[in-house]
């Protein structure tokens, strides 16, 4: 059951070094670090634009990404961001590397006593909470933790600590999902 014992995974320490190189080159080539939740947020803003541009304009937070530009009178495109392409690249890279190491298949990683449905519901709720929290913290594990932590930003280290403390303290309550 343990994922890490499966074959063909990269040594985590080596992978860490590679990730650091990717992060560094991201700073060099795009001028900003890695992120994940930003792409999701921008996609959500894009969807909201389709439904009601008016709502996006009137919301301070949303209008920053997809509000109507006062000079050109056209709505900003929230997808016009490096993050979108980065996440797209992550997906493509994930699929390619998965294919390369022969583990490209549809699977559900879940504990033995949970049903697939429960797993999806919990994953969705957890993801939604984490996404919401990430926007309050101004970034997710990759954006604020990885990219910010690498630059030794104080806020990033506080957030990272909070993420780990949160995970440890709640693991007890959700342990039955996995054992």
């Amino acid at each position: 059951m343990n994922i890490l014992t499966k074959d063909k995974y990269l040594n985590p320490y080596l992978a860490g070094v590679f990730l650091g190189i990717v992060l560094l080159s991201a700073f060099v080539f795009s001028g900003s670090g890695l992120g994940g939740s930003g792409a999701m947020m921008r996609t959500v803003v894009k969807a909201e634009q389709v439904i009601s541009q008016n709502h996006v304009d009137n919301n301070v937070y949303l209008s920053k990404y997809g509000g109507t530009d006062e000079e050109t009178n056209k709505p900003k495109d929230p997808w016009e961001s490096w993050l979108i392409f980065e996440v797209l690249g992550v997906l493509v890279g994930g699929v390619l590397s998965g294919g390369f190491s022969n583990r490209l298949k549809v699977e559900h990683n879940k504990g033995p006593r949970t049903t697939r449905r429960q797993r999806f519901i919990f994953a969705f709720l957890g993801g939604a909470l984490f996404g919401f929290g990430a926007r309050i913290a101004r970034g997710c594990t990759s954006g604020i933790g990885l990219s910010g932590g690498a630059t030794l930003a104080l806020g990033s280290w506080i957030t990272l600590t909070a993420i780990f403390v949160g995970a440890f303290s709640f693991a007890y309550f959700f342990r039955k999902e996995w054992i």
Binding site: F85, L88, V92, V95, L96, G99, N102, L104, K105
Partner: protein
Amino acid sequence: MKQKIKRYAMVIDTKTCIGCGDCVVACKVENSVPEGFCRDWIVSEVMGSFPNLQMELRSERCNHCDNPPCVYSCPTGASFIKDGTNITLVHEDKCTGCKACIAACPYDARFVMPEGYVSKCTFCDHRLEEGLDPACVSTCPTHCMHFGDLNDPKSKVSRLLESRKWKVLQKMRVPSPTFTTFFEDRTMREITITTNKVNHLIDPHLAIWAGTLIIASLAIIYRKEKELPTCYSKIALFGPVILTLGMTALFFDLEYKAHVFRFYTTFQVTSPMSWGSWTLLLFYPLSIMLTLSTLEQGWPSIYKRVNSITVVNLLIGYSKKHMRLAAHLSFPVAIFLGLYTGILLSAYVGRPLWNSAILGPVFLVSGFSTALALVLLVSKDRKETHFISRIDLIAIIVELVLVTLYLYNLATSTSHTLEAAKLFMGGPFSIQFWVGFVGLGLVVPLLLEAMEIRGKRIPVFLPASLVIFGGLMFRFIMVEAGQVSTWVHY
């Protein structure tokens, strides 16, 4: 005695034109041009760079070209050259509003009337018959517009051209980003251009349909019933389905739907669209025959349901009898139709992005590879998918080569095709083209299929759906971007 052909021309004295717009108003009144449209307009072009600037003002309209691409592209003969003159006119009774002529016109001089037919400047043909000048010329307060017959050496325009320096209002305009327009009418005209786009659903289906037909006919010709069951018996059904969807989309794109029958009351040798509409009509039955002849093996559930109907039963029997003949006929037709969409676009002189005959082969290969991906999605036979992935891999490589050649062709033709190519090279369609089409639609499936051949386990739906996505993306981009590209750079 045969009357000499009149070659009417308009000469604009750019030294005296002040851009007042009276010609535009006169035309609107004379020809009752509806609000929001215009048959002539004012251009003010700024040339050079600061401090060496030059400005030219002129009145423009349809130039009644010697070789009018609009007339040659018209599938119904609605656009025609008036006998004994060079005046191109539109027969509104014959016009279906297919907008082929709008895409073909390098001057963007045509527009769709609210009624649905295409209209444009007629050089005030009705006034010429009475011996009068066109309304714009008669009205011009600075007398900068001159009108007459170039074949008559004594006419005003012929004498002017002898005595003054002149240039033909051609495509070699200086592209200038600093132009300004002062007249409402010109802006309005731009609005009408954008609403006159052809539907982007027009051609996606055609090449894919052609692809399914190629696969099905080849499998039948080579009797691959056992080895390639999906190609042999299943894929044919997609042909009529995609074709019907596409034909419906085409119909809805016509601005004058009641005139749709006009496609089939004439055959225009010079119009690719006319070739296309006749071929489609004639070979619809072939596609249905291929489907019916293999329905029993391929889609037994549908077969059971429809076979009880007497007519269908008879048709199935007939199709089975002539199955090989149908396959032999279908193959060349499918190749023709696969090429056709690209050639149709490339013949539209007015849209430089499309002006490359390589577009035909590109569409053919892309349609073929998209159809192969459809087979991959449908097939449950491992041997078959393995074989088809290999063919698809080759098709993708060929497509990559052809797309490179196409871009090279654009970049080395004229300054206008180069401008058009820039739509993909940093212009507004770059991301869709490079990330969507080339990246996700070609390179990633190429890598995945290569891995599959090397023995990795790749779920076959991944490369297949990416290829279909890329194929549709490519068609969408080509149709959209093509209509943004233009000869008119002011």
